[in-house]
């Protein structure tokens, strides 16, 4: 799907010359919608939803999981949206779920000659090797890999570091006595859980690094792991999380993109806790804030914002080549859930700080790299 955000008035789909109407607002009003819809339709006819009229055109192409995952893809997108709030930028979203079509999709996007194309996920790497030299006037931002071309900015996320921090958080808190809105930990039993989306090398790296983080806190803690089988469908992930909770896990972390909601749901229904991934999910899933103790985050939005800014400032050199999202650069971190701010035991802050230091100092011997083992 494709959605444009116009920076000048901040509303969605307001490319029309007529005064902006937020379609979603219209539809939400239900019955009143019928009358208004006619007006919107008319506006649609008069307006032009083809091609942009912003000063800058920026395109973002999704990972196979697609947008609306409230994690990876949406995280990258939100940085661009922030930039669009700042400058006159049109954002064009292209969802590409068919990996076979990636090369074509990149070329399609490049044909429209935007100022920047953001490629979410390393599945884009090989197609980009062909397309970057093919379209030298387009600037490319690749997430999770690097292509050695002048017009490519490659961003490696230190996923293993982020997963390690999640493990440290879970390992620390399973020993503590936490009670909130009916949910509670079981300090007597040392079991935590991990649910992945699909069993692919990237997520296996999450799993192993998370286990290392838990072990770093206390190697007697048992880690239950499982995969829900999908990045889209929360039900499989939910089954896994429930199964783990019934086997004694009191905190479960997920690396399942949009399907990770299944973990929050499991924690919520079974009076246990969960940890978010990529961004502060106690905010993006605020209806689950009472069970999200915290999130292991990477500032992917900062990265996309930074690159967008470099394009606007005509300063591509500053982002060209390999860039890292790392603990050292403070783009990888732990944030406590919004409902638990100030409520957490001191041991958590202590352990997280120690772990981060250990990572920066190279004291941790990671079994897996950022994208696989």
């Amino acid at each position: 799907m494709s959605r444009r955000i116009d920076a000048r008035n901040g509303s969605v789909d307001s490319r029309d010359e007529t005064p902006a109407v937020d379609r979603r607002t219209v539809l939400r009003s239900g019955a009143a919608g019928v009358a208004t819809l006619g007006g919107v339709a008319l506006a649609g006819c008069i307006g032009d939803d083809n091609g942009g009229d912003g000063e800058y055109q920026m395109t973002i192409i999704s990972s196979p999981a697609g947008f609306d995952d409230q994690a990876f893809n949406d995280n990258a997108l939100s940085g661009l949206e922030e930039a669009a709030d700042e400058w006159d930028i049109d954002i064009n979203q292209i969802e590409a779920t068919d990996q076979g079509e990636y090369s074509q999709r990149q070329a399609d996007a490049a044909e429209a000659e935007p100022d920047l194309i953001v490629l979410v996920a390393d599945q884009h790497t090989e197609p980009l090797r062909e397309n970057a030299p093919e379209y030298p006037d387009v600037n490319w931002m690749l997430i999770n890999n690097v292509v050695e071309e002048d017009n490519v900015s490659g961003w490696i996320e230190m996923n293993h570091e982020m997963s390690f921090l999640a493990g440290v958080g879970a390992g620390t808190l399973t020993h503590e006595e936490i009670e909130y809105e009916g949910s509670e930990t079981d300090p007597d039993e040392s079991i935590v859980g991990f649910v992945g989306g699909e069993e692919i090398p990237l997520i296996e790296s999450f799993e192993v690094s998370y286990q290392q983080g838990v072990e770093w806190v206390d190697d007697s803690i048992e880690v239950l792991t499982g995969y829900g089988g999908s990045f889209n469908d929360p039900s499989g992930v939910n089954d896994q999380a429930v199964s783990q909770i019934e086997s004694g896990a009191d905190i479960v972390w997920h690396a399942a993109s949009a399907a990770g909601e299944g973990v929050f749901e499991a924690a919520s229904n079974n009076d246990r806790f969960a940890i978010g991934v990529d961004s502060d999910q106690s905010v993006s899933f605020d209806s689950y804030q009472d069970v999200i103790l915290g999130s292991a985050i990477k500032a992917l939005d900062e990265a996309t914002y930074t690159v967008a800014e470099a394009v606007v400032d005509d300063d591509w050199e500053s982002v060209q080549g390999e860039q890292n999202l790392s603990t050292e650069g403070e783009q990888i971190d732990w944030v406590t859930g919004q409902a638990f701010e100030g409520e957490m035991p001191d041991s958590l802050d202590q352990n997280i700080e120690d772990a981060k230091q250990a990572i920066v100092d190279g004291e941790i011997n990671f079994e897996c790299g950022p994208t696989g083992c």
């Binding site: 609306d68 779920t97 469908d233 089954d239 086997s247 949009a258 299944g262």
Partner: protein
């Protein structure tokens, strides 16, 4: 007839075979788990496991009952998957517009969903019965439309193919009784929708085999002329059965949503093949609502089992374990495949031409 043949006949009885099979499959898997991985059975078949299997089985069962009514009346509703997608979406959209505050909104959503899906099925039924559309092709079309228009509309409403969080209906917990070991969690601490499903299973069985309308449905699918010459309007019976099938599939989708946290419209949507499993379930159950429910429970159980095995760290690829239900379907269909399809399924009926 000697005693041995009558035993043979008895075991050929599908319901017995199905139940036997379900027990056998679970027993073998359990035994393998115990022997090979040294995992005690009680850690696999926890009360939560059983309760959750029932929860998983509920939407499949509902779709299956709808499907078997339609097919018994002579119309193969292969669009169950599509109607479930619509059902889940309508429930989410209706809840979204009335408010996402609590269980009451969820129930309103379920009611609205059944209503809207039923209206949609009326169109489908007119197409099939009045305009004699090819049932298989039109059913596939409904599936494609569900996969296309539902995410499209979701994106228009929510700006995303996934909905925000939806309220659930919670569980009905009977104080005291829910503390009974094992059975307490399964029986007295259970989703009300599971109870609703059980009621529908029993009700649809009674309706089919004990009331005159049930007779008419069976006759409409097996010998519509006999029903017509008995003075009953065959197509009216078929309309009723097909519309009911859509309502049940819609309810199945709504139940799926209520047991989940939000509507998912990406990929194959949250329905993800459950409508197809519904068809398989009633074929297994030989068009008997109770049999279909048993088959659905088998799928739910096998599905949950692979989750349990992962949690217990049994070393097998989750990707491959996840294929278990599909393999079981093929094995069972092959070994016990002879389902007696009503003889006039797929044939439009016209009393005069």
């Amino acid at each position: 007839m000697s005693a041995s043949t009558s035993v043979l006949e008895y075991t050929q009885h599908r319901r017995v075979r199905l139940a036997g099979l379900a027990v056998a499959v679970l027993a073998v898997l359990g035994a393998v788990a115990t022997a090979v991985f040294d995992v005690p059975l009680d850690r696999i078949f926890t009360p939560g496991y059983v309760a959750r299997s029932m929860e998983l089985a509920a939407p499949i069962t509902l779709a299956a009952i709808g499907g078997l009514y339609a097919e018994k009346s002579g119309v193969f509703n292969i669009g169950l998957e599509g109607f479930m997608i619509f059902g889940a979406f309508f429930a989410a959209a209706a809840t979204y517009f009335v408010g996402t505050g609590g269980a009451v909104h969820a129930w309103i959503g379920i009611g609205m969903s059944v209503l809207l899906t039923t209206m949609l099925t009326v169109l489908f039924a007119v197409l099939l019965i009045r305009y004699k559309a090819d049932q298989i092709v039109a059913g596939l079309g409904v599936w494609f439309i569900g996969l296309g228009l539902v995410p499209f509309t979701a994106a228009i409403i929510w700006g995303s193919r996934n909905s925000p969080r939806m309220p659930g209906v919670g569980r009905v917990t009977v104080p005291g009784a829910s503390e009974i070991p094992y059975l307490g969690r399964i029986v007295f601490d259970q989703s009300p929708l599971v109870w609703l499903t059980i009621l529908i299973v029993i009700g649809s069985w009674v309706f089919l085999y004990r009331t005159r309308y049930g007779y008419w449905i069976q006759a409409a699918g097996d010998n519509p002329e006999a029903l017509d010459t008995a003075g009953i309007d065959v197509n009216r019976v078929r309309y009723a059965a097909v519309i009911f099938s859509g309502a049940m599939a819609g309810l199945g989708g709504a139940v799926l949503l209520a047991h989940s946290s939000s509507f998912v419209g990406t990929g194959q949507t949250m329905v993800d093949g459950r409508g197809w499993l519904g068809i398989v379930a009633y074929l297994f159950g030989n068009y008997n609502p109770v049999g279909a429910a048993a088959a659905a429970l088998l799928f739910g159980g096998v599905d949950m089992l692979q989750g349990q095995l992962q949690t217990l760290d049994i070393d097998a690829s989750p990707k491959l374990l996840g294929l278990l239900p599909y393999v079981v379907v093929i094995v069972v269909l092959t070994g016990w495949g002879k389902t007696r399809v009503p003889s006039s399924v797929g044939e439009p009926y016209e009393s005069e031409e």
